[in-house]
Symmetry: C2
DNA sequence: TTGTACGCGTTATCAG
DNA sequence: CTGATAACGCGTACAA
């Protein structure tokens, strides 16, 4: 038999019907464990491999995936929405639909209720971007129990090893920022300001930890100052940054750890004046991209929104089909962007 | 009609048969231009979009693609082969086959003959990695004329705008290396050694140009030394590097522009001794990865082999199906790798 | 130059 | 618990 064996060949070889083969392949109930074994052994023997193309066509409907994003209107979320739309259009011809759902504002309970209301009819899988809390974690698990595939997206539900995750390792991202910052400043001496939106979230915490770790290990001659929160009104933030810059004439670097870098970078440019300060921020948005081009930031540490979205979709789909993904393709890279590799 | 229109709907709406619709969709001959117009207008009107899944299944056979790689046994080519194998296995379930073909050694004419011998029966498309020459360019064009899709891969046939290309912009890659080198060295003064395998190839030339451009524009206080060729025997290379290091005590950076960085980096570590020299090389291989971890190189400028391979396959497939690709997904990124974002 | 009919390999449905 | 059979939407040979 020169051609690849089909389900028909498999059924014949295993001495069962097509329907039974299908049940085994898709892990459905209603087959004697003995029969399951026989089929699985035959799969090995004849080297059967599923034809995903045929399987997708035979479902008679497209996969329906949704991305649950926080309401906040920052540029990073904006980019993400854009990419989801773009990727959805491109994937339409492959029988995959994707859309954005906005999470309710009222904290983890609101989100949990929102997730509980999602209909199995409406979605085959959802990617959820939400801060880690026990409520959210449980809500995600309950979604899965109802037969909807669910993954955590960008923001990891770290304590839940069983919930798949698509996104970067924020500790490594912070470490990368630290390594670059140290190399840019060295061999000079000096101190480094760290600006974050709020240090409540685990993601921010991990970046900060990674940053500090590398600065301590590789660049002990540099001083990392206590984090400043940019959450809150602009006036206050401006005062705080001014104070630090006045008090520490040795400031040699500013690390904007938050995903939204607009306000911090703007203030840094305004208040830093003519001083020789190295600036690193996260995420590529219209604002940070322009800042990089115009020399208002030296480097960006980013994750590619398009890749994130496609990876989430591929991961959800693979789970729907009881398949594994190609690990090397799904590892989201921590990218370093300079002016010339934008 | 709530469902997406099918070819059947399209045929009915346009007042033609399924076969005619198929001919128009796939750009085949044998349809009056008037009819083509009608069908295309109807496609717009009813918002028809092809179902790629069904189309692939209906072909009754997998796509067969080949990567033509140079024989040379460097680590970068090795990585590429590995990835092609990996991706081929993953794509098998999507009715796509891919394999590696090794180009003959005897220069452009040999390659041209090799390409001429490829059978239409054997391949639907090929990705060719070969230095730019008029012979190769023409050979690629002739392959296309025989109905096999062809793209240039990693090494661009730059003078041929009509031949699609999957790979990075080497000028930008060199510029990125230059920007990083300048920032790592500054505010110190000094000179920079540039090491290349041979500066015959257009790719090397472009990297060198990009590097020089940025160094001149952004870091005029640094001196870029004339390129050294690492092609040839190790003894000679060793002598040349030694001479430069002796003659210029101000050497502050070494840029290894070649894809194979093993010898240059090894010699740099050996001869550079205790001097404070910033080192940048290209491509991620087992060797460069270890060098980065162990501090024998500060940064790598890379292109992801897995992404390159997948992008080439998607591009070839899209061309087979008379489709366009999602541009944002197919732009190969110039990545900057530090120790912590490996 | 155009149309018809069959088949691709799987899933879903319904009957046993 | 298992089996038979009709789809899914398109490509392709062949007929007209």
């Amino acid at each position: 038999m020169p051609d690849r064996p089909t389900t028909r060949d498999l059924a014949k070889a295993a001495g069962v019907s097509l329907a039974t083969v299908d049940r085994v392949l898709n892990g459905r109930a209603g087959v004697r464990s003995k029969t399951v074994e026989v089929v699985n052994k035959t799969i090995q023997e004849i080297g059967f491999q599923r034809n995903v193309v045929a399987a997708t066509l035979a479902r008679r409907r497209a996969y329906r995936f949704a991305f649950v994003l926080p309401l906040q209107s920052g540029e990073f979320i904006g980019q993400l929405s854009l990419r989801i739309g773009e990727v959805a259009r491109a994937f339409a011809s492959e029988m995959i639909e994707a859309e954005v759902l906005t999470a309710p504002e009222d904290g983890p309970h609101g989100l949990a209720r929102f997730l509980a209301d999602l209909s199995v009819q409406a979605y085959d899988g959802i990617a959820i971007m939400a801060p880690e809390t026990p409520h959210v974690r449980d809500a995600i698990r309950r979604v899965e129990e109802r037969g909807i595939q669910a993954i955590s997206f960008i923001s990891r539900q770290a304590a839940a090893e069983d919930i798949p995750f698509v996104g970067i390792d924020n500790h490594a991202a912070g470490a990368t920022a630290g390594e670059l910052m140290g190399r840019l400043i060295s061999p000079r001496q000096g101190s480094v300001i760290v600006l974050g939106e709020s240090f409540q979230s685990r993601d921010s915490l991990e970046r900060r930890l990674g940053f500090d770790r590398v600065m301590g290990d590789m660049f002990p001659h540099l001083t990392v100052l206590p984090s400043l929160e940019t959450h809150g009104d602009e006036g206050r933030v401006r005062r705080v940054i001014s104070q630090v810059l006045d008090a520490r004439p040795d400031v040699a670097g500013i690390y904007v750890l938050a995903s939204e870098a607009r306000l911090p970078l703007t203030l840094a440019a305004e208040l830093g004046g003519g001083r020789d300060i190295q600036r690193i921020a996260h995420e590529r948005t219209p604002f940070t991209e322009a800042a990089l081009r115009e020399g208002r930031v030296e480097a960006l540490i980013t994750q590619d929104p398009g890749h994130l979205v496609r990876s989430a979709i591929r991961t959800l789909r693979a789970r729907c089909e009881n398949r594994t993904t190609l690990a090397s393709q799904e590892r989201i890279r921590i990218e370093v962007l300079l002016k010339h590799n934008l």
